[in-house]
């Protein structure tokens, strides 16, 4: 043990000196806000899912007392997931598939870009980073709309493939093509993956990597056996940060393919929420997505807080 380590362990917890009363006072507004407007609404969702419907308008009526909760709407949704009446099952599976594929594609795209920017770009680092961050500040809707235009039957993409009239390419990109929706998801969310990857890769100690090369490993081997394992937590955090929000996406499928063939769980929720008689079911779907996402979310929290304390 070095001297500094001993000293660090010997230092008493100086809560007294840092004003232990100040902490709660400062944090209180934020905590109350989160409780009221983040956790609280989740209870309202429960009250609506387990509530009843107005017989004429079929709007949802919340029931506040848990003892009077009626599980019929929740059961309805659960029973429609698998089996002969499994109308929701395909959409849920499809969502999982799209998110997985899109996440993988994002990673395959983001990692090289982040790696290059973090370690190899030299004096262009600042400019590259600015360009990489740029999509955050361009309206997401505008970017999607730009793609809708490019993908129209007479749009630039088809015209490009036609190569000036050599071929006559008129692919219908915008009519329910899963490929287009997945690529749309990648386009929209990959920027969220690049930044954390960049940050993590930036922190890797150059000395270790150089040591691997000095010891005779080829570029590929040193990458595979040294770099990759070292940035595993970063990759996990970045993937979670990108894929979890994708679960709720509905507008990508809406704009790029107005077809039921590519409906995701976000579309199911969006279609049911304001539809008479189906609001409770929308709430049940919300709960389902929450339950599915909760484990990865807590895992993400653990990974990032471990990162915090391991500075």
């Amino acid at each position: 043990m070095t001297l500094t380590e001993v000293a660090a362990q010997a230092k008493p917890q100086s809560t007294r000196a840092r004003g232990s009363a100040l902490g709660p006072v400062l944090a209180a507004p934020g905590v109350i806000w989160l409780l009221l407007f983040f956790l609280g609404p989740l209870y309202v969702v429960l009250a609506i899912v387990f509530g009843r419907t107005d017989p004429i308008f079929r709007t949802a009526v919340p029931v506040w007392n848990p003892l009077q909760w009626n599980p019929s709407q929740f059961n309805y949704v659960l029973s429609r997931i698998v089996g002969s009446q499994g109308i929701f099952g395909p959409a849920l599976l499809r969502t999982a598939l799209y998110v997985l594929v899109a996440g993988l594609l994002c990673l395959l795209l983001a990692f090289p870009v982040a790696y290059y920017t973090a370690r190899l770009s030299g004096r262009w680092k600042g400019l590259l980073l600015a360009l990489l961050i740029a999509p955050f500040w361009i309206s997401y809707m505008m970017r999607m709309l730009a793609w809708v235009n490019l993908l129209q039957d007479d749009g630039l993409v088809n015209r490009l493939f036609s190569m000036g009239g050599i071929f006559d390419v008129r692919v219908h990109w915008l009519t329910g093509q899963p490929v287009v929706v997945v690529l749309g998801l990648v386009y929209g969310y990959v920027a969220y993956m690049i930044l954390p990857l960049y940050a993590g890769l930036d922190r890797l100690p150059q000395s270790t990597l150089e040591a691997a090369r000095d010891l005779g490993a080829s570029r590929f081997a040193s990458f595979w056996r040294v770099t990759l394992p070292m940035c595993r937590p970063t990759i996990v955090a970045a993937v979670l940060l990108t894929c979890l929000p994708m679960l709720g996406d509905y507008f990508t499928s809406d704009m790029l393919s107005a077809s039921p063939k590519t409906a995701m769980v976000g579309n199911l929720i969006n279609d049911s929420v304001q539809s008479p008689g189906q609001t409770g079911q929308a709430g049940a779907l919300v709960m389902l997505v929450l339950l599915v996402a909760v484990l990865p979310m807590f895992y993400y929290v653990r990974v990032t807080s471990r990162g915090d304390t391991a500075s």
């Binding site: 809560t15 961050i133 730009a146 990032t304």
Partner: protein, 292 residues
Amino acid sequence: MRSPVTWWNDPWRPPRILLAVTFGYLAWSLIPVLIAVIFSFNDGRSRTVWQGFSTRWYFGDPVKSVWHDAALHTALFQTLKLGLITTLITVPLGVMFAIGIDRWRGRLPAGANMLMLVSFVLPEVLLAVSLLFVVTTLPLPIKLGTGAQVLGLVTFQIAYPAVLVRARMATIGTQYEEAAMDLGASPLAALRRVTLPMLLPAIFASTVLVFADVIDDFVLVRYLSGSSSTEPVSVKIYNTARAAPTPALNALATLLLFAALLAITVGYLVYRRMTRGDNTAGGGIAAFAGEA
């Protein structure tokens, strides 16, 4: 002159594949936007066929240009209004939250911290639907519209300043504040006169980032909007995309893009100035974006 084979196999060669991928990605990412901006200057009504240069969609066309169409104005104002109000509420709330949690030991703050991080990765539609239920079923003084939208946006964005400030505090460490208190300052005074000024870059960076994120938000503001005067630009684009969009929409989005770029540039320059000579802050865009 080396032979092409030698050049290709040069052991000190730059990473060509990575370079190609990076440039390819940048092109793929930014070219559609460039095209959208270019078509905002289109003379005709088409958004795919170039018909000549004109500024009619900005102020020329007496009915449908951004300058003349009241609906587009309202959308622009609503976007900026939401951005300002949300940022004004979120940043102080988030900063205080971060500082408070940092010095409060216990289960409750750990739980609150976890809640805050969860709100960071939650799919937005879940929060939007739950708040929609709250506003439409409980007799709150807040109705659908700007009030509800601000509520949702603040809840969604509060993690941003909190995370940035906490990261910065971790980098600074506690020594300055403890030194101040050893010299006789009360905890509050130490906070006010030592810690806060050191946190200013992070606070400023989070302000700009929250603003940029809010003016682009779609899911929350759409669910919680009331009449069309409370629909910001993103919702207008979505609604009109499913009807009959004209290049005026491109013009609107371009204007918003320039506003955001301006905010970011000014913010970054001010941030650079603030952290001049301060070697605990990483200079550079990465630190500004909170990823240092």
